[in-house]
């Protein structure tokens, strides 16, 4: 067992290194970048959801003073390498590959589909130019819902697919589904839907692409969750060698899964930059963000549940349909994760799962914070529905069904072991934090006065990064790399492919490295956002706490060993007698011997020790996740529903969460609260709306409503004592959990509030008007 370094920073809410610049307006986001000769792009976009493009006349736009160039979709195909959508090319998927062009050429497939790019001296002029482009469209019947898309008579979006099936139907079974259903006391049937909603980061997508003709070199200033993935996408589409492309990123105004790879518009801007030999900036406005950047979660589920009379959830048989929008990409990979996660932390014995993905004339399905979240919604919703029917209370049915923590661990019927899962403890903790009997009394008194309070809970786990699997590293992206170097100024530099966009990595990773290596926090610098300099990585999937925290810990340990080894030559002392504390290498018990680590680095760089001594104070570390692990917990909400107006107030929201060891509690709590806020938003406020012609009706912030400071209550968070699985790395992620479990928590609470009216809820979006419909018994 290796001795763990004294922890001065890890576990403390150290103030963020990011904040001095953030708080003073000195952050540097993509739209803040100005390069000499820079031009601005805007896109001509289809007003129609489904149409053939008959002709595109850009002559008036090209003639407008201040407009430098206009490229149509066809023209861009000639100066780029044809191929599929960038993310689809990178992640693959089981479905067929739809024909794809960078901008629309002969056909538009959603309202907002880009048809041409206008490049001008200012964004104002570019938009003026867009208004002058004349496009002749031939209307086609729009496909705006999944049931029409499934109908073979619906006009196919993609000629080469021949129909609107993006992910062909498939079925899997885990466990003995037939027997489980045959033996069950009760069979329940539910139809549950999740509505379309979306990421809405405060900063939209965008980039500044800068092509240097002299060197045939492309630099892209991006807002992205991975500079390396963006670079691959750019190089691929432009047909450039990887070493001729550099992607850099500074501060990023949120993403939640949206900014991965490179969007069609960013790639078009890069192509334009190369053609014009000038930097081109494209930053989407809010209208583009809401209508074209991508949307998520529009999924429906037919669920059969096999249940015992005592409330054991024995088996599920689920049919899922996912609406992947017009240019299928990540959406086709979501069903398999939903299937894998559906059992949750429960003792489910059998799961039948089938899925189909459809294309429709709406914006494309993109990753949104816990893309598979519907599994928790469906499961936690039906547990409540079943409990009501059987006369059990929601806590009781969950405690009954949760898998006990055993050694060896229980295994989900879909294959993953539930190592270290503390769901039972989280349920019990919620029962301590929230006095249910007292609430029920208060609820009854309130009802007598015509006030409707409700309580709801939901339990979840997330693979953050997930348990160690036999034969492979944990986490969806495998091994995490990091380069660590002791610089001559005494700074311990960490080069990571992580690309923080709110996750505070520049603080948290420094905390770990400072502790492990032995320097003050201020003496660690986390370097991100430059493909020339950082190893491959991606921020996403709630994995960085374990994977990057772990590689920082082990890497710092390796670097320290190297430094001590070198120092032993420098100081003519045995490694065993040396220590690094507070930035000084010294002989234990002899303070006068201490030398600053910077001085050690300078001596190493001087070459005075010859080839037999390793003076290269740098390591390339890799970490496979160690034992990994699950995060998870139980959330509980108390709401009040105004039955005259349908408005819902959240009186109290409590979280009992296990995310392993915390690197920085304030950062962890911030992530949880932000996710919960998005979940509350999804239920009460947020819906991406399309009319039957495929026009997006939620195109501004007046119609797509995100929660404000008056909508989100104080969220009480308790961290549970965790099961340590690994000798060193027990940090687990929380990035997505709040958004995954808050929607069922809220819907369960609202249904409880409305139970005097006999309301049963099979959907996730409950705006005031819908609440009144449910009370009135309308479908």
């Amino acid at each position: 067992m290796v001795a763990i370094a004294a922890e001065r920073y890890t576990g403390a809410s150290i103030k963020r290194s990011e904040d001095p610049r953030i708080l003073t307006g000195a952050g540097r986001y993509v739209d803040d970048i100005k390069l000499p000769g820079m031009l601005h792009a805007a896109f001509v976009r289809s007003p129609l959801a489904h149409a053939r493009v008959v002709s595109v006349d850009v002559s008036a736009a090209r003639a407008l003073p201040g407009v430098v160039a206009v490229f149509t979709g066809a023209e861009l195909e000639e100066i780029t390498v044809p191929g599929p959508d960038a993310l689809m090319a990178l992640i693959g998927g089981d479905g067929p590959t739809p024909e794809f062009t960078l901008l629309a050429t002969d056909k538009v497939r959603f309202a907002g589909d880009p048809v041409a790019i206008v490049i001008a001296e200012s964004r104002y002029l570019a938009e003026d130019g867009c208004e002058l482009v004349e496009v002749d469209y031939d209307d086609l019947p729009p496909v705006t819902n999944a049931s029409f898309a499934l109908d073979p008579s619906s006009p196919p979006l993609f000629a080469n697919l021949g129909d609107n099936i993006a992910l062909p139907h498939s079925r899997n079974e885990s466990g003995d589904v037939a027997a489980t259903f045959a033996e069950a006391d009760r069979i329940f049937d539910f139809r549950i839907g999740v509505h379309r909603h979306q990421n809405v980061p405060m900063e939209g997508r965008g980039c500044v692409a800068s092509y240097d003709a002299d060197r045939d070199f492309m630099t892209v200033h991006a807002a992205t969750q991975s500079v390396h993935v963006s670079k691959i996408a750019v190089a691929m589409r432009l047909g450039m060698e990887q070493d001729k492309v550099r992607v850099v990123a500074g501060d990023i105004g949120g993403s939640f899964g949206l900014k991965i790879g490179a969007s069609r518009e960013e790639l078009a801007a890069a192509a334009a930059s190369r053609a014009l030999r000038r930097p081109v900036k494209w930053v989407e406005d809010r209208g583009e963000n809401l209508t074209t950047s991508g949307q998520a979660r529009e999924e429906s589920f037919d669920v059969r549940a096999a249940v015992s009379n005592d409330g054991d959830l024995l088996g599920l048989d689920v049919k899922m349909v996912i609406d992947t929008g017009s240019y299928p990409s990540l959406g086709v990979t979501v069903p398999e994760t939903v299937e894998a996660m559906l059992p949750g932390p429960y003792k489910l014995a059998a799961l039948g799962f089938e899925s189909t993905g459809v294309t429709t004339n709406k914006a494309s399905y993109v990753a949104y914070r816990g893309p598979w979240a519907s599994e928790t919604f469906v499961r936690e919703r039906i547990l409540d529905l079943i409990a009501k029917d059987l006369g059990l209370d929601p806590l009781e049915i969950r405690l009954r069904n949760v898998a006990p923590r055993t050694d060896p661990p229980a295994v989900m019927i879909t294959g993953r072991p539930l190592v270290g899962v503390t769901s039972r403890e989280s349920l019990e903790r919620i029962a301590q934090l929230v006095d249910f009997p007292a609430f029920r009394r208060r609820q009854a008194e309130a009802r007598a006065q015509g006030r409707y309070l409700g309580i709801g809970m939901a339990t979840f786990i997330e693979a953050a990064p997930g348990p160690r699997e036999p034969g492979g590293p944990s986490g969806p992206l495998g091994t995490e790399s990091m380069r660590l170097r002791l610089e001559e100024d005494g700074i311990v530099a960490l080069f990571t492919g992580q690309m923080p966009h709110g996750q505070s990595h520049q603080t948290t990773l420094a905390q770990i490295a400072a502790d492990e290596f032995g320097v003050p926090f201020e003496q660690v610098r986390v370097v991100v956002g430059d493909t020339n300099v950082v190893p491959f990585g991606l921020t996403g999937g709630s994995r960085s706490a374990t994977m990057t925290g772990g590689v920082a810990l082990h890497g710092a340990r390796e670097l320290k060993a190297k430094v001590l080894d070198f120092a032993s030559h420098l100081m003519e002392a045995s490694v065993r007698d040396l220590q690094i504390t507070d930035g000084y290498v010294g002989v234990r018990g002899d303070p006068a011997s201490a030398i600053g680590v910077g001085e050690v680095a300078r001596r190493a760089a001087s070459g005075e020790f010859g080839p037999d001594v390793d003076a290269n104070l740098e390591v390339e570390a890799a970490f496979d996740g160690g034992e990994g692990g699950w995060s998870g917990g139980t959330h509980c909400a108390i709401v009040e529903v105004d039955v005259e107006t349908g408005l819902v107030a959240v009186e109290r929201y409590v979280v009992a969460e296990d995310c392993g060891a915390l690197i920085n509690p304030a950062v962890v709590d911030g992530q949880i609260r932000g996710g919960v806020a998005q979940g509350i938003g999804a239920v009460l406020l947020e819906r991406t709306a399309y009319d039957e012609d495929g026009n997006c009706q939620s195109a501004t912030f007046m119609d797509y409503l995100v929660p404000t400071a008056c909508d989100i209550p104080r969220i009480e968070i308790e961290h549970l004592e965790t099961v340590a699985l690994d000798a060193d790395v027990n940090f687990r992620g929380v990035g997505e959990g709040g958004m995954i479990v808050a929607p069922p928590t809220m819907v369960n609470a609202i249904e409880d509030a409305l139970s005097p009216f006999g309301v049963r809820i099979y959907e996730q979006h409950l705006p005031p008007a819908r609440i009144l419909e449910l009370i009135a018994g309308e479908d």
Partner: protein
């Protein structure tokens, strides 16, 4: 989301502004607070040829009270009206509605006249003006004209202001003794436009309702008075039963719009609830103005 090309004029006096309006008529948009107009321009939903910025016309700002009338200049900022003691004392219904308009930063620039000339039927001030029978003073090339609120609001975002006329001031009757006011609103979030709003004013005299005003926001393409309910209330003593009946009458044959935020049926139900709540609140604070 950048504004389209537009010419710009910044007159210093009302006659200058009127002259510009007479010259450009429907090709001109008057720029007051900009809180409604600039978003329309940014979304390129409006393409006026010229903006006539009246922020520099000093005489258009101010709140004054004479002989039972409170006169508010069209360019009076919403926050100024909100902080005005005269408005608080003499036009309590207006004072009740003002804090519900958007957020403080909107009210820093938004103006009383601008909001009323824009005439969004879901906004608070049109319902207040309609409830109180405010008078709209416009000035055109032919001189000054006074338009009662009942004739001011013609349709969705449409008023009877001629294209060559400028709204210069709005006159509100001062609330008498025994008058209670309430502005009720259901909005999706704090500061949002009303899905349904209700301006209520009740005057009690020896315990009996002598005057009743109910004007809805968000129930039609203009603010609309619930005259049937008003007639029912006059002469009666406040009671829960009376208010229920008024709510039924007020929403009985109204045909509200349906949109993303609420169906027609939803609006009707909410309107009824707001009538009950508004009348209760107005009756309660009528007592305070004896």
């Amino acid at each position: 989301m950048k504004l389209p090309l537009v010419d710009y004029e910044a007159p210093r006096t009302v006659p200058e502004a009127v002259e510009l309006l007479a010259e450009h008529e429907d090709e001109a948009s008057v720029l007051a607070g900009g809180q409604s107009l600039i978003p329309l321009l940014a979304l390129r939903l409006a393409h006026p040829a010229v903006l006539i910025d009246i922020n520099g016309i000093a005489e258009l700002s101010g709140v004054s009270a004479t002989n039972g009338t409170v006169t508010i200049g069209a360019m009076t900022r919403e926050y100024v009206a909100e902080e005005s003691g005269t408005v608080a004392d003499a036009v309590p219904l207006l004072a009740a509605a003002l804090p519900l308009i958007g957020h403080e930063a909107i009210r820093s620039r938004g103006t009383i006249g601008g909001s009323l000339a824009h005439a969004d039927p879901a906004a608070e001030l049109p319902a207040v003006a309609r409830a109180l029978d405010a008078e709209f003073v416009v000035r055109g090339p032919a001189g000054e004209r006074v338009v009662p609120a009942a004739e001011w609001f013609e349709g969705y975002l449409t008023t009877s202001r001629g294209p060559d006329e400028l709204l210069v001031e709005v006159r509100f009757p001062a609330a008498g003794r025994g008058t209670g006011s309430s502005f009720q609103e259901v909005a999706r979030r704090h500061g949002d436009f009303a899905i349904v709003g209700l301006a209520t004013s009740l005057t009690l005299s020896e315990g009996t309702i002598s005057d009743a005003r109910l004007a809805f926001a968000g129930m039609s393409d203009v603010p609309v008075r619930a005259t049937g309910a008003e007639d029912l209330l006059v002469g009666e003593r406040p009671s829960a039963g009376l208010f229920d009946e008024a709510a039924r009458l007020a929403t009985g044959d109204i045909d509200p719009p349906a949109d993303l935020h609420g169906s027609a049926d939803y609006r009707r139900k909410v309107a009824a609830a707001l009538v009950r709540r508004g009348l209760r609140a107005a009756a309660d604070n009528a007592g305070e103005r004896q």
